[in-house]
């Protein structure tokens, strides 16, 4: 040891070593905290994407079936389909008679609801028996099996597919009657009890309508309130005290749990005003109230960033306060207001709890045509699907989440882009 250490007392040096160790520990805690947060994010994204990406494709079957009859008063299409498939897989009538579960198992490998629907439609056009070519989605079971999500090595009792079903699926694959295609149904279909037919269409439409209604209400009102509070509100005396109460109120409203807004919507819009449950109009109203404080706070921050000298010089030229504010201050604050509002919209898009309160959890199998039709919203659809047990639902829930996250990312990206562009224009 040399230097200052050499003239420091041994006690001081020992103490210094301890202090340096404490310093290193502290820094380590910091690193650990960072690592924890980043790992949590990575784990979340990985688990969502690894389960969800495969749902963007779907296995389809091309089947040429000999159907006994496709017309008649009320033919049992399921039985007809099962018989035709039994023939396809060369299962004798004896076998069918002996084992009652064969028919059920046969119908489980394709989307039976889709197939019978096609047969029915066909029966109306050309009512005769004969060869039918079906292009239909595989059942969720087959789809999951082919995607490798069901382990064929497991004991038959442990897996949802039977040995026979595996045989049939293998046979279909060998004869080239299975293809994997982009899963359009996921975006174009409304909700369904069958995973292979379920889609996000009604949820997407619902979310879009909710968001349009909410923004159309909350944006003008929120920005107007912010402009008032920032420029026109009395600062002193009785009025000033009232205004500071309003401000405290807005700050607190922003931190009120979103589920409370749902309760408000339920009590006021549905119970008091008698609007229907599950409709985008009510969802939009509730989320407008939810967004309002966020937009006011963001807009005020943007307005406060504009120096007073600007409006002052306009005032000195004889403009009224209203003119000075609207012609000079608001345009300059617009990028900030816009960014804040878009981020508020992104938050509203992810809101789930208030929509549950106003009954947007209904099972909706039609795409809503107007804001008065029952609908779900994207996050609510995620919640609904997540509750179902089958493997296919986990995959589709994750896919819906991926879709939601991508939209959110685009919205936030748009906000950043707009801000950059508007700011650049102003500088020029």
């Amino acid at each position: 040891m040399s230097g200052l250490q050499s003239i420091a007392t041994p006690a001081a040096l020992a103490r210094l070593r301890k202090r340096r160790a404490a310093e290193r520990r502290f820094r380590l805690y910091g690193r650990a905290a960072i690592a924890f947060s980043v790992t949590a994010l990575a784990w979340l994204l990985f688990s969502i994407f690894s389960t969800g990406l495969s749902a963007f494709t779907q296995h389809w079957l091309n089947l040429d079936l000999e159907v006994k009859t496709v017309s008649g008063d009320a033919p049992n299409y399921r039985d007809l389909l099962a018989d035709a498939m039994a023939e396809e897989f060369e299962i004798t009538i004896d076998e069918l008679a002996q084992d009652a579960s064969v028919r059920g198992e046969l119908l489980q490998i394709l989307s039976a609801s889709e197939a019978t629907a096609q047969l029915r439609r066909r029966g109306q056009v050309e009512p005769r028996a004969g060869a039918v070519t079906l292009r239909i989605p595989a059942s969720d079971l087959t789809d999951q099996f082919l995607k490798g999500h069901i382990d064929r090595g497991l004991a038959p009792s442990q897996r949802p597919v039977t040995d026979r079903q595996i045989e049939w699926i293998d046979q279909l694959v060998e004869t080239g009657r299975v293809e994997r295609r982009f899963n359009r149904a996921l975006f174009l279909n409304p909700d369904s009890r069958d995973p292979e037919r379920a889609g996000l269409a009604s949820a997407i439409f619902g979310s879009v309508m909710i968001l349009i209604i909410a923004s159309a209400l909350a944006l003008p009102v929120g920005v107007g309130a912010a402009i008032y509070l920032d420029n026109f509100a009395p600062k002193t005396g009785w009025g000033g005290r009232m205004i500071s109460l309003v401000e405290v109120n807005i700050n607190n409203l922003a931190a009120v749990p979103s589920i409370v807004f749902g309760l408000l919507g339920l009590a006021v819009f549905i119970n008091f005003f008698g609007l229907s449950r599950s409709i985008p109009l009510v969802g939009g109203l509730v989320l407008a109230l939810r967004m309002f404080p966020t937009i006011v706070i963001a807009s005020r921050a943007a307005l406060q960033a504009i120096p007073d000298s600007l409006t002052d010089s306009a005032l000195s030229l004889g403009a009224s306060r209203m003119q000075a504010v609207f012609n000079h201050k608001v345009p300059l604050a617009a990028p900030g207001i816009l960014t804040g509002s878009i981020i508020g919209m992104a938050q509203a898009l992810g809101e789930t709890a208030p929509l549950l309160m106003i009954g947007m959890v209904a099972f909706v199998t039609a795409v809503p045509a107007s804001p008065m039709d029952p609908a779900t919203a994207l996050p609510v659809q995620i919640f609904l699907w997540s509750g179902s047990a089958e493997v296919a639902w986990a995959e589709r829930t994750s896919a819906a989440i991926i879709a939601l996250l991508v939209v959110l990312m685009l919205i936030n990206g748009l906000a950043i882009m707009l801000r950059e562009r508007l700011q650049r224009k102003r500088r020029r």
Partner: protein, 412 residues
Amino acid sequence: MSDPVPIYMLMIILALIVGAYRLAYGRAARFAQLAIGGMARPRAQPRHHARLAAVMAGLAGVCVYLVGLGLRTHEPSVVGDGLWLAALVGLPSLIIGIALAKVRPDFAARAHIERMAETGLMLLSLVAVITTLGIVASLVFEATLFFQDVSVFEFIFGTHWSPQTAIRAGQAGQSGTFGAVPVFAGTFLITAIALAVAGPVGLMVAIYLSEYASTRTRAVVKPAIEILAGIPTVVYGFFALISVGPTIRHVAEMMGANVPTQSALAAGLVMGVMIIPLVSSLSDDVIRAVPQSLRDGSTALGATRSETLIRVVFQSALPGIIGAFLLAISRAIGETMIVVMAAGRAANLSANPFDAVTTVTVQIVALLTGDQVFDSPRTLAAFALGLVLFIITLLLNIVALAVVNRYRVRFE
């Protein structure tokens, strides 16, 4: 009643507004031109007169429209569409006439229109107050109905929560027991777990990023934290359900314990991760507010960096950090989707983080989703729980915001 909302009437109102604008503009433009010829300058420009007339006409039209809409819904016999239509055209026309008569050089139209605009803006800022009043009124109203069936005492101190089934015949509320203690306890347990994660982690993230991290680390970690803040809670809930819950169960199984997939721990951990960005950004604000001169003073006395941070920065920022934690608690208590999906619905009175517990928000969702008759004690109980939730979070927010603001003043 073919058309629930007659659109053509809105068109008429629009036409009236445009007509009022044009007429007033025309009148005002005439004397504006005279002014150039040497007369006294008019007190307002044509467009101000025009705007005033248009706004007056529009207000009158919209009022008639709304009144008519309301009357037609409730008293269809009194108001026919013909009368409505006549009023819709008549009243605004009258107003336009008065407005046109007022278009004179000495009429200060600009001051009038601006006063109206200011009043309009003020009314907008009152939306927040109205919303709050609406929340309070609806929660109190429905909760009062609930407390007519179930005593407040039973609700707050009862230890048995079972809204579906009656324990014995003739029990208060008839359809179940509403002792909310297990619900409060579950909320508290999960909040405690979430804060135990988010508090230290969020704080250390803020400190490390602002005091130690290299520019490159910051460039990676800051956006990551922002992404955490932007992920919808339903996604966190699903993550807890399919990844965190099963992982905890597996780990517990390896150690020979049997743990359900839905547990307070899974929900609390994930909620903690969700709250990290809130704590770290609020802490970052207060840590940055500590003046550099204090840090320099400590450094010059031979303190190491962490000693300066803990003994000076931390201590000075403590009120702000406490405020941040209070806001985090309020967020955790009000969080819904994560607990709905990952904490379970069983109302266990338990302090064991591996048990499934239930929370206030979970019960509100459970009581109000699905088909039910409104006004049953079951649905009203949700509003009672909502009232408790609102009061607690409101108190936390008020205290937190007050603490943070007072702290901000101290260093300015």
